[in-house]
Symmetry: C2
Subunit: 111 residues, 2 copies
Amino acid sequence: MNSILSALAEPNRLKIVELLRDGPLTVGEIADRLGLHQPQASKHLRVLSEAGLVEMQPVANRRIYRLRPQPLLELNRWLASFSRVWEERFDRLDDYLLELQKSDRKPDDKP
Amino acid sequence: MNSILSALAEPNRLKIVELLRDGPLTVGEIADRLGLHQPQASKHLRVLSEAGLVEMQPVANRRIYRLRPQPLLELNRWLASFSRVWEERFDRLDDYLLELQKSDRKPDDKP
DNA sequence: CTCGAATATACCTTGACAGGAATATTCCAA
DNA sequence: TTGGAATATTCCTGTCAAGGTATATTCGAG
């Protein structure tokens, strides 16, 4: 989960992933479209690859990169665990304030 | 989108967000549960706050932090734009290989 | 009004990482 | 078989961010 997020946290890598959303691409094409030098494109692709976000298939001289679904699914599942948060039936602030009061009271205090 | 991802990319901050999934918490409690020193907890919360991931409500001496739904929704929308990828009706590798061949051919080649 | 608890901020140091440039590697075509 | 295209790797350098420590700030209790 963490390697996925830090891979995506780098702006150029995020753009690479968004490029690949529309289909596989060659290293050179990625570098061109993003205005990167080829070595940096390769390096970013390596990071994405180690995070499992992309996979590569060699074709003669070139390497074709494409997205892998699995880490995206994983991220999706993680996000889903927060659905209560954005469905808003879940604030708990009031409850928490009561808890705070309670723990502040001295043990022999009457509610 | 990018500040959200880089906020979440840091392991301790990810843990903070996961802690807050179950309800609001005080700075001190967060530091305790994660084994962080208080200043680092505050600093991480600041980053999360600037990314819009959490909001704070002061109660006397303490600051209560809780999650904000919006950036999670944003992340969710972004992820959804990749649904084609993991629904797998979308590989396009074969198409792309054909494209590569085509562009390799000299202009006057017959298919 | 003083003290201690809770939190934020400032400063320093160190490590990781991104970009640049040069070079190695692999492959095809002529 | 040689050359050039496509890609990966290496080395260097500068920057930035995280942790540690000390300190400032704010608040309520007594």
